[in-house]
């Protein structure tokens, strides 16, 4: 136990002396995530707002066949503009969408038959979604208005054409509603930060120590190998926790200054404490897993090539949930990364986490971390580990 503390103290002292790594671990990494995330949220939001409210100019092919519709659209903020070849303009992404009035529009209109209006667009282009939705909504409104007027002209109550009034009632909490984008990205960024926050230190204390040939003298001291490894993992976890606290604080402060929906991420300190508790096992898992992996490498470079793959690991549940969202089930709380993802979402959405979920989660997460911690100690008992070259 004493040797553990000695190793822990020495590794942290070395880190503090190494300004560049210290900055990278404790300043750059915790700040980059929040900056990136809040920046994206702000840009996305301002763009959506712009497309929803700003007057929009849209090409209308065959406008002369429906002058009333064009005039009505103009009153709703849709200007008409001329484009020589609108199909080509959409393919070359110069235009988001355009309207085509059917050839027989005037005739059908007069005869009271449905007259054709097409919204032409490219569904694979995400930035065209909002203009298309705007056009469809406006056309639907016009359709209803004219339809009601026609019925009135024939002495019929327009209500008879609407047997049902279908409407939605949304029971989601305001927090959950605003969390759309955040729900996708935030857990990943936080889990990744907690998982590899200690990467630089681990590489330096394990593979780096072998590379610099100082491991063999260390193992020739009476200190137990278990204590030496545990001291190194403890140092990694200490750094990971500090980095995690800084990341959470950066999110909190950043979100408070961000405009619009991103502001909703400015969670209370109670939620931050919960997030901290959710991510704490991740720090231990990362520290012990990285130590286990890096201990097998002969040089920092070799260890880096193994660990870069790990950055993708926390992404897997996020991506799977993006593609096929699933309901929470108890077994999920035993799977690393997936469990953290689900629990962070619950915290962000202000949903309660049951005692059962906490129990399964904490036992599983700390159990896996302990398994890797044990594996790292076993690895330090191998003879070939001590031989540097």
């Amino acid at each position: 136990m004493k040797a553990l503390l000695i190793v822990w103290k020495k590794e942290l002292l070395e880190l503090v002396r190494d300004r560049r790594t210290l900055m990278l671990t404790l300043l750059f990494a915790p700040l980059l995530g929040p900056l990136l995330f809040l920046g994206l949220a702000t840009i996305g939001e301002s763009k959506a707002k712009e497309q929803m409210e700003k007057p929009m100019a849209v090409a209308i092919a065959g406008a002369e066949r429906a002058p009333n519709l064009v005039a009505w659209l103009a009153s709703q903020g849709i200007e008409r503009k001329d484009v020589a070849d609108p199909d080509a303009a959409i393919r070359s992404q110069a235009e988001d969408a355009y309207l085509r009035i059917g050839d027989d529009f005037g005739k059908d209109w007069r005869e009271g038959k449905p007259a054709l209006v097409e919204v032409v667009h490219d569904s694979t282009r995400h930035d065209a979604d909002i203009p298309v939705r705007r056009l469809e909504t406006l056309l639907g409104q016009y359709n209803q208005q004219v339809g009601a007027l026609r019925l009135l002209a024939r002495g019929v109550n327009p209500g008879v054409a609407t047997p049902m009034a279908v409407s939605r009632k949304d029971l989601s909490t305001p927090e959950a509603r605003s969390a759309g984008l955040a729900a996708m990205m935030l857990p990943y960024l936080l889990i990744l930060g907690a998982f590899i926050g200690s990467l630089q230190l681990v590489l330096d204390t394990t593979a780096g120590e072998r590379e610099r040939q100082s491991l063999e003298p260390l193992l020739a001291t009476p200190a137990r190998r278990g204590a030496i490894v545990s001291g190194k993992i403890a140092a990694a976890c200490s750094v990971g926790i500090v980095s995690l606290v800084l990341t959470l604080l950066a999110f909190r402060v950043g979100a408070a200054f961000a405009p619009g929906a991103a502001k909703q991420l400015a969670v209370g300190f109670g939620e931050m404490a919960l997030m901290m508790l959710v991510l704490l096992p991740m720090v231990f898992l990362g520290g012990s897993l990285l130590t286990w992996i890096a201990a097998a490498a002969k040089s920092v470079k070799e260890a880096q090539s193994y660990t870069t793959v790990l950055i993708l690991l926390p992404m897997i549940p996020t991506v799977i949930l993006m593609v096929s969202p699933v309901k929470n089930q108890l077994w999920m709380f035993a799977v690393p990364f997936l469990a953290q993802n689900q629990m962070l979402l619950q915290v962000i959405r202000s949903e309660p986490v049951t005692a059962m979920q906490w129990g399964v989660y904490l036992v599983a997460a700390f159990g896996i971390a302990a398994a890797f911690w044990f594996a790292a100690i076993r690895r330090y008992h191998q003879e070939r580990l001590a031989v540097s070259a």
Binding site: I6, S214, P217, A220, P222
Partner: protein, 251 residues
């Protein structure tokens, strides 16, 4: 006092050749207190592997090692406590000062801060390292690094000292200083083992020489005894004769 008895160690073969590489075949010797025992042998003779078995970094496949009469396999930690080791790898922590490097090892040996400070003072005087003691070791010369590594290996005042090629890469003056230091350790009644492939160095310093070639002891005794055994007046000739005849046997 360190006794090695019939040590043997092999390593798995690399590549297509799956036969195990025999690093140490059968090495046994006795290193007494108050004597300097030299492990002499060409490169690849198995000196470093033998020493690694002495300080419990590797386990011998057969044979055993006794330090101060106790089997090291029974209690490796106690054995390491009784040994001061300068391994082949002598990297120091470059962001710590020489003094902090020494202190770290003293703490791992369970020493009190006062005892560490006292031993550091003593060793830094003996090794003439006062002028760089409080500098970070990044950018140290080879000699400064070796001195730091020796000081930290001896911080706990061990009865037995094992040095693996301590003069590697050192200039003449530093080597002379180191030689005086080793004689001083002998004068204090310690058991000193050091390995080298340089014959003159062993001849100048050692009370007993153990000549190792191809993982076996080919000669063991004082300088005179070895000259006598080989039937040569010159120690260098004797050394070449001993190794050469062994190579003849293997051919």
């Amino acid at each position: 006092m360190i006794v090695a008895e019939h040590l043997r160690k092999t390593f798995p073969g690399k590549g297509k050749d799956k036969t195990r590489v025999v690093a140490v075949d059968d090495v046994g010797f006795e290193a007494r207190d108050g004597e300097i025992t030299g492990l002499l042998g060409p490169n690849g003779a198995g000196k470093t592997t033998t020493l690694r078995m002495l300080y419990t970094l590797m386990q011998p496949e057969s044979g055993r090692v006794l330090v101060d009469g106790r089997d090291v396999a029974a209690d490796p930690e106690a054995a390491r406590r009784a040994l001061g080791v300068l391994p082949d790898a002598r990297g120091v922590y470059k962001r710590l000062t020489a003094r902090e490097n020494i202190r770290y090892f003293g703490e791992l040996h369970g020493m009190s801060p006062a005892a560490i400070a006292e031993r550091t003072k003593l060793l830094s005087e003996a090794l003439q390292m006062e002028d760089f003691l409080d500098r970070q070791t990044e950018g140290f010369s080879q000699g400064q690094r070796t001195k730091t590594a020796i000081a930290r290996a001896l911080v706990h005042d061990p009865r037995n000292v094992i040095l693996d090629e301590p003069t590697n890469g050192l200039d003449v003056m530093t080597t002379r200083g180191l030689r005086e230091f080793l004689k001083r350790l002998r004068g204090e009644g310690r058991c000193v083992i050091f390995s080298s492939h340089i014959m003159q160095e062993v001849a100048a310093l050692c009370d007993r020489i153990v000549v190792v070639a191809h993982g076996r002891v080919v000669a063991d005794g004082s300088t005179d005894a070895i000259r006598e055994q080989a039937g040569r007046d010159n120690l260098e000739d004797a050394f070449v004769h001993l190794i050469g005849s062994e190579e003849g046997l293997h051919a």
